[in-house]
Structures are given as structure tokens and as C-alpha cells.
């Protein structure tokens, strides 16, 4: 048998990304499954390729879902997990951490590989180059179903890494608007991996500080505020000499986390540090106002919100905060006016509608209050508080059955409010009922 040989062709990352994109798009057009592998050595290269591919696919109208396989979640049985996924057969799934999830995850792939084909799933597995051989041997049936394996084995130099970081540090970062825990975990892992690969060199300090900043915020959002605080302290130390422009944001974030931890005085100090450096940041003034409100320093809080609104009169968060302070002061008309203005500038916030409902209820405008609470539940179906407020309203309206229903929904979403419900005087008349008791059990 004579062998035809061809010279090796060096392909750019973009060319290889094109290959993956073409395959996935072609499979989508033909309503066929696509099981692809992309292997890599450096997280920098992987992230760069991942980002390019995602952008390219989104340009073609595709939707991307990122999934990190974990033994702690249903994703460990990926074929079944994707079969039940609302985006089944529609989105393109980028899968990570397959081999970290261990033998169980791999077994499921081997034995349920047909699910992917039957459901016309388009899946890209990002697998470290050192792990792909093991995967092939432990899951040969699944491996036999692969479409293509594209390699991204380029190892960037330190200069390259910094260059790449300027592109990647805010990749997958959406400030504080992410709700999906999987997305947050993905963001955390990505940043940890990039940090681990970044050599401890002074020239990298600015990049490191930026990564630590977003890493801290994500940790806070997954209910790990202490971890977040630790990353922020590291970021502040690095940013002082290397990236002073970052300091106001870092101190502001530190204030937010300290507030979440109940350390309001320390939070105020952090906001003050931030304002000293960047007095023009409306967000920091507004955050400071929220803490002052919690401390019962209502006049100072109103002053802080006034600063924020002078810098940005359309700032919904500041208007919402101002409304809350007025509520505490019993100045309902002014509170309602502030909430209404906040909604004019941001009609998507469930929190503002909930507060608007509170003001209306306190003003005994019950139907309008109910409409506001309903709007809040519609805007954020996971948000429990408007359900509890609806229950209070129902009690005011002498509708105990409705109150029980609303409490049931609210406590299902946030069981930590049981104690609050148990001790609330508004629900005294329900306490003897078996349904109420069952709710609190």
C-alpha cells in the first residue's frame, strides 16, 4: 500500500474556528447532529478560540449554551440533561469539564450517545489535549460518534497572554445582571484558569487585577462574599501601582460585598475611598445611600441619592433607593413619585415594581398595589418577595385563602422567609390553621 503524503499545513486559529463553525452551521441546516471536539493546552488559546467561535455563530443567528459538567448537578448525565434542556435541538452546546466529572459522566456518554443523534443536538466538547486519549479509550462507542476533532495546541507567550487578556478579561462578564448560576460558575472557572496560567510578573499586574475584580463579583453573586472580598483585596493591592484607574470600581465593589456581609460601617469607608478617587461615579453615591438608609441615617441617605441623581438624573437605582428611604420616613407620596420616576427609566426591574407596590399598599391603593406586585412576579419569576407582599395585601383585603396561596408560592421560592412569615402580625389570624402550620413546617 503506497502512502500519499502532503506537507503539513499551518492553520491559524481563525481557520480552525471556521472549520468548527462551518460544521456546526452545516449540521444545523441539514437538521443533523454534530458531535465535535476541540482540544487545547492553554486556557488562553481555548478562551480565544471559544470567543471567536461564539461570535461567529451568533452572527449567523445561532444561540450558544455553555455547560460545565459536574457530578453535583444533573449535567453529569449529559445526554439526558440535554434531552430535557429547553434549547434541545435548537442551541449549540459548548461543553466543558467533561473529564473532571469523572467516569460516571463518560459512561453516560457512551451508553446514551444515541440521544444526541435522535435529538439532533449540536455539541462542541472542549477537552484538554492530555485527556482526549483517555476519553477515547474509556468511551469508545461515544468516541466513534465524533464528527471532527480540531486542535488548538498553540501556546501563547507571556506577551501574547497580556495581549489576549485585554480581549478576554471581561469576556463572559455581564456585571451584576447574570442570574444563571451555571454562567456564573463558568465565569469563575475561566478566570481562575486564566490567573493560574498568567506568570507572576509585574507586567501582568494590571491584567491580574482586572481578572480578580470580575472574579470577586462573580463569587459574591454565587453567595461566596468572603471569597469575593479576598479577591478584591488582592486586586486592590495589585491595582494601586499597576492600574489606579481600577481603584474606584474595586472600592465600590468592596463596599457592596461588605454591605452584603452586614458590615455597614466598613462598607461606607470603602465607598468613601471610591468617591475620593472618582467623585463623579453616580453608582457609588447611590450604593452609599442604600447603606446609610440601612443604618437609619435617612437624611444622609437622601443626600447621597441626591448626589447620585445630580450626576445622573435618570439613574433608576438611585431613584429606587430614594423611594425606599421616603417609605421608611412614611413620606408615601414622595416615595411613590420616586418609584414612578425609576420605572420611567427602567421598566424591567422587578425590585422597583415591588417597592412601588409597597408604597401603594401603604397608601391603601390596593388594586394598584396588586398590579405592581403582579408585574414584579412577571418580570422575575424567581423573586419571592412580591409573593409575600401579595399575601400581606390579601390579608388586608380579608382574603385568607389567597394569602395562603401567595405564601405557598413565595416560600417555595425562598424558604428562608418562613421565620419572617411566622412572626408577622398580619398573619396572626392564620396561625391556628393547619394549612398555615403546614407552610411553616
Amino acid at each position: 500500500m503506497s502512502e500519499v503524503t502532503l506537507p503539513e499545513v499551518e492553520q491559524t486559529i481563525s481557520e480552525r474556528v471556521d472549520q468548527l463553525a462551518n460544521y456546526l452551521l452545516r449540521a444545523g441546516k441539514a437538521h443533523k447532529a454534530a458531535i465535535l471536539f476541540a482540544t487545547y493546552l492553554s486556557e488562553f488559546t481555548r478562551t480565544r478560540a471559544d470567543k471567536k467561535l461564539e461570535e461567529q455563530l451568533i452572527d449567523h443567528g445561532e444561540q450558544i449554551v455553555h455547560i460545565r459538567i459536574s457530578t453535583k448537578t444533573d449535567s453529569v448525565d449529559l445526554p439526558y440533561y440535554l434531552r430535557c434542556h429547553p434549547q434541545k435541538g435548537k442551541a449549540i452546546f459548548f461543553i466543558y469539564d467533561l473529564m473532571q466529572a469523572g467516569e460516571t459522566a463518560v459512561k453516560y456518554l457512551n451508553y446514551r450517545r444515541e440521544y444526541f443523534i435522535e435529538d439532533q443536538q449540536r455539541i462542541l466538547f472542549w477537552v484538554h489535549e492530555t485527556e482526549i486519549g483517555k476519553l477515547a479509550r474509556t468511551a469508545p462507542d461515544f468516541w466513534a460518534f465524533r464528527g471532527r476533532t480540531i486542535t488548538f495546541l498553540d501556546t501563547p507567550t507571556t506577551e501574547n497572554k497580556n495581549e489576549l487578556l485585554s480581549d478576554l478579561r471581561f469576556f463572559n462578564y455581564h456585571g451584576n445582571i447574570i442570574h444563571d448560576k451555571n454562567d456564573l460558575e463558568n465565569g469563575i472557572r475561566l478566570r481562575q484558569e486564566l490567573l493560574a496560567e498568567l506568570p507572576p510578573d509585574e507586567m501582568n499586574n494590571a491584567s491580574r487585577a482586572e481578572l480578580l475584580y470580575t472574579l470577586a463579583i462573580y463569587n459574591d453573586m454565587v453567595q461566596k462574599p468572603e471569597q469575593g472580598l479576598m479577591y478584591l483585596e488582592q486586586a486592590i493591592d495589585l491595582a494601586k501601582p499597576a492600574a489606579p484607574h481600577l481603584l474606584p470600581y474595586l472600592f465600590n465593589a468592596k463596599g457592596n460585598i461588605l454591605h452584603r456581609l452586614g458590615q455597614n460601617i466598613a462598607a461606607l469607608e470603602a465607598y468613601d475611598r471610591s468617591i475620593d478617587i472618582a467623585p463623579e461615579e453616580a453608582g457609588t453615591h447611590s450604593n452609599r445611600g442604600i447603606v446609610l438608609n440601612d443604618l437609619g441615617r435617612y437624611d444622609d441617605a437622601l443626600e447621597a441619592f441626591a448626589w447620585a441623581l445630580e450626576l445622573n438624573p435618570k439613574f433608576a437605582n438611585a431613584l429606587n433607593g430614594k423611594g425606599n428611604t421616603y417609605l421608611h420616613l412614611g413620606r408615601y407620596e414622595e416615595a411613590l413619585d420616586a418609584f414612578n420616576k425609576a420605572i420611567e427609566h427602567d421598566a424591567t426591574s422587578a425590585y422597583i415594581y415591588n417597592n412601588q407596590g409597597n408604597a401603594l399598599r401603604d397608601m391603601d391603593r390596593q388594586e394598584e398595589a396588586l398590579a405592581a406586585f403582579n408585574m414584579a412576579t412577571k418580570l422575575d419569576p424567581d423573586y419571592a418577595v412580591p409573593w409575600l407582599n401579595k399575601a400581606l395585601l390579601a390579608m388586608q383585603q380579608q382574603k385568607p385563602d389567597e394569602a395562603i396561596h401567595d405564601l405557598t408560592v413565595g416560600l417555595q421560592k425562598a424558604p428562608q422567609y418562613r421565620q419572617w412569615v411566622a412572626t408577622r402580625p398580619a398573619f396572626v389570624s392564620l396561625r391556628g390553621t393547619s394549612r398555615f402550620k403546614a407552610l411553616l413546617r
Binding site: M1, S2, E3, V4, T5, L6, V9, D18, Q19, N22, Y23, R26, K29, A30, K32, A33, T39, K107, Y108, N110, Y111, R112, E114, I117, E129, I132, G133, A136, R137, P140, D141, W143, A144, F145, R146, G147, R148, T149, T151
Partner: protein, 415 residues
């Protein structure tokens, strides 16, 4: 599936989907040289004359076309003339991740009952009342053990038994706890269950004047250790049903010494031979012709250079799925290079991509074993070779004799 011969490369890409086995009447089907399953077909047709209904164990490489051939055999007119064919994939009714001999035997009985009585997808026939009464006993034990209380299951007669079998199969497939409970219930009385299975088969035979033939696909998918337990330790149990059965088994089963019991029923679907044994430059034209046919039934001849087609055939090692994958990848290369026809370079680049996959899988020790295989082409150390056959780095061929060779894509890695 729309099985039109492709007239452009985009459609070629679709037609060379390596994932899905062909249906029995597919336009894309290609008859293999020597019709390797003819032996099995002949043996099955003769089996009615045997005093002991035979069991056959079909193996073959991944992607060699086992499921396609099983689909065709199940629809073969002569076979259907002689048997009530009960054909299913074990994947649909059990968890291959966690499978044992009890699960296999339970699915056989359940599928006999369900497919024979199913009006929509099966034969839509009735079974005698005495048999239904007989089956009620076992039903009672399992339904109470699994605490199954739904209305349909409580119904008497055939409808109740149908609901019962469907529910138990579903629970056994999806719920680990139920699976264990079913096994605990059936294991001690497995001979009773086998007696009931044989009663169902006897009733079918009496009513139809021909016995059932059960064909179970995808039994080659469980882990090798599981397959070893089922087909070695419980081989005699699998031989018990009083009707012919075709079991699929992992190829590596026959490369270990323990499988004496089932080796008599061995049936093998080999890869297609492309070169003569001991003479790697001597092409076997019949094999190349088959592989060309495989491609040209799916694509217009103008879409690929003949030289490229032969190169793909050669590099496929005669494994159908690898041929499909090579062509599909070659389409990608051709389109990326702005071509509307596949050329040799596209095929070679595809092979190179597949070779990288093998490079990741094979250890230095594996390479040594493969070098030996290449020079001897013999199964001198089957146990050492089994894992390499399992990942298709080595391929078994059968013509007048059995022999092995290294997958052509892997060959450059031996240098």
C-alpha cells in the same frame, strides 16, 4: 430519511452521516462480497430442523454495519416466512450502563408478549386466555414489590399485562432502585420466568405454525466486564429459551479464552477486505468495488475524483463508518478550499485528522503490539489485541481464514 443520490457537496455531507444505521430497504445499502450474513441466514432457516433451537452471537467492528445487517435480516422475506421476528435494541428497554442477565431475559419475554400483541407496531395477535392467567402470577409479585398501583396495570387480561410489561421495562430502564427490585424478585425464580417465556413462545408457535426468532441489537454496547459476566458466567442461561435468538456481542468477547459456550454460535461481520493477506500491495478488487459502490450510491460520480475515492476506500480499512467519516471530512476540506469536487488531497487531509485521534489514544506499548500485528497478521496474543480491536486500531478480516491487520490510518504511526 431522504435517500437521494447527492448532486452537490453539501448533500454529500448529509448523505455520509456516519451515525445512523440504514433501514432494511435503504437505497444506500450495498451488498458485501461473500454476503457474510448469508451463513447466519442459512443457519436460521435450517434451525427449525434442529432439536435444540440455536443461539447465535453476532460480533463485528464498530461501524462495520451490524445494525444495518440486523435490520435487513429482520425484514428478510424468507426469515419472516419461517419465523415470527421479534427484533429490538436492548438500549430501548434496559440501561446498558447497568445491565445483567436477568434484564436481558426479562426483555426477551416482555418483547415476545408486546410485539406479538401490539396492534400498531407489532403483529396485533391475541394470546390464549390460559397463558394470560399463567402470566398473572408473576405480574402480581412484581407489581406489589414495585408498589405499582396505576389503573391500567390493575386491568385484567391482555391490556393489563401490556401495561405491566411496558411499565416494568420503563422502570427497569430509568430507575436504578426499581431495577434492583425487579432483579431481586426475578433472580431466585429465573427458571420460572424462563418457563413462562417458553410458554409465550410455545403459544405463538402453536397459533402461527412457526416459532419466534428474537434478535437483540446493541448488546455489544455494555462495558466489556459486563459483557463478560453475561456471556460467560450466564451463557447457559442465555441458551435456555426454547426458540432461536441472535445476540449481538462485543468483538473482544471472542478474543478471550473463557467464551467456550457461546463460541459455537459465533457469527462475525468482518470489515471488507481490500488487500490480500501477506501482500499489502495486491488489491482485492471486489473489496474496492464494494467501497466505491458504498460511496457512489450516496453521491454523484462527478463529485469525487476516482483516485480520491480509491484513496478513501483504502484508508477506511473496509470499515463502512470510517469510509463515511472520511468522505464527510473530505467534503469539509473541499468546500473550505472552494472546490466542488473531492480530490485526493481532501481525503488525505481527512485521514490525517483521524490519525491524530489515534495518536492520542495509542501508547508506546500499543504501537509495539500493532507492529507485531502488521508483520504477522495473526491473532497470536488475542487478550493483548482485544483492546486495540475494541478501538478499531486493528481490524479483523475474514475470507477463507481469519486474520488481522492494522487500520490503514494508523500505519504511519508505526514508523
Amino acid at each position: 430519511m431522504n435517500e437521494q443520490r447527492a448532486t452537490n457537496l453539501d448533500d454529500v455531507w448529509i448523505n455520509f452521516d456516519p451515525y445512523t444505521p440504514l433501514t432494511a430497504n435503504s437505497n444506500f445499502y450495498v451488498e458485501r462480497p461473500g454476503k457474510p450474513l448469508l451463513d447466519l441466514r442459512r443457519a436460521l432457516l435450517r434451525s427449525r430442523r434442529l432439536s435444540r433451537p440455536p443461539k447465535y452471537y453476532l460480533s463485528g467492528h464498530r461501524g462495520a454495519g451490524k445494525s444495518t445487517e440486523m435490520n435487513r435480516l429482520a425484514m428478510d422475506e424468507d426469515i419472516r416466512d419461517q419465523f415470527i421476528v421479534i427484533h429490538y435494541s436492548i438500549r430501548d428497554f434496559a440501561d446498558v450502563n447497568d445491565l445483567d442477565q436477568v434484564d436481558v431475559l426479562f426483555t426477551i419475554g416482555a418483547q415476545l408478549f408486546l410485539q406479538y400483541t401490539d396492534k400498531e407496531h407489532g403483529y396485533g395477535k391475541k394470546l390464549p386466555k390460559e397463558l394470560l392467567d399463567e402470566l398473572e402470577g408473576m405480574r402480581g409479585q412484581i407489581t406489589s414489590r414495585l408498589r405499582m398501583t396505576n389503573k391500567e396495570i390493575s386491568a385484567q387480561g391482555e391490556a393489563g399485562l401490556r401495561a405491566y410489561f411496558l411499565n416494568v421495562l420503563l422502570k427497569s430502564k430509568q430507575e436504578e432502585v426499581s431495577r434492583r427490585e425487579i432483579r431481586q424478585e426475578l433472580q431466585p425464580s429465573i427458571t420460572d420466568w424462563l418457563r413462562q417465556v417458553n410458554l409465550i413462545a410455545a403459544a405463538i408457535t402453536k397459533q402461527e405454525g412457526k416459532p419466534p426468532l428474537v434478535m437483540i441489537d446493541d448488546l455489544d454496547k455494555p462495558p466489556f466486564t459486563t459483557a463478560k459476566t453475561i456471556f460467560h458466567e450466564y451463557a447457559t442461561l442465555l441458551e435456555q429459551p426454547a426458540f432461536p435468538i441472535v445476540y449481538t456481542v462485543p468483538i473482544a468477547v471472542f478474543f478471550t479464552r473463557e467464551f467456550v459456550t457461546i463460541s459455537q454460535g459465533r457469527q462475525f461481520l468482518p470489515s471488507i477486505k481490500l488487500f490480500e493477506r501477506h501482500n499489502p500491495n495486491q488489491r482485492w478488487e471486489a473489496g474496492f468495488h464494494t467501497m466505491r459502490q458504498f460511496a457512489l450510491k450516496r453521491m454523484d460520480v462527478n463529485l469525487i475524483e476516482m483516485e480520491a475515492l480509491d484513496e478513501a476506500a483504502k484508508l477506511s480499512g473496509g470499515v463502512m463508518r470510517d469510509m463515511a467519516r472520511l468522505i464527510q471530512l473530505a467534503v469539509d476540506h473541499a468546500l473550505n478550499n472552494g472546490r466542488s469536487k473531492i480530490v485526493v488531497e481532501d481525503v488525505v487531509r481527512s485521514a490525517s485528522e483521524l490519525r491524530s485521534d489515534f495518536r492520542r489514544m495509542l501508547s508506546g506499548e500499543d504501537i509495539e503490539v500493532l507492529r507485531h500485528v502488521r508483520s504477522s497478521q495473526e491473532l497470536t496474543n488475542p487478550e493483548q489485541l482485544a483492546p486495540l480491536l475494541y478501538i478499531s486500531a486493528a481490524i479483523e478480516y475474514v475470507n477463507d481464514e481469519s486474520w488481522v491487520d492494522v487500520h490503514p490510518i494508523v500505519l504511519p504511526l508505526l514508523e
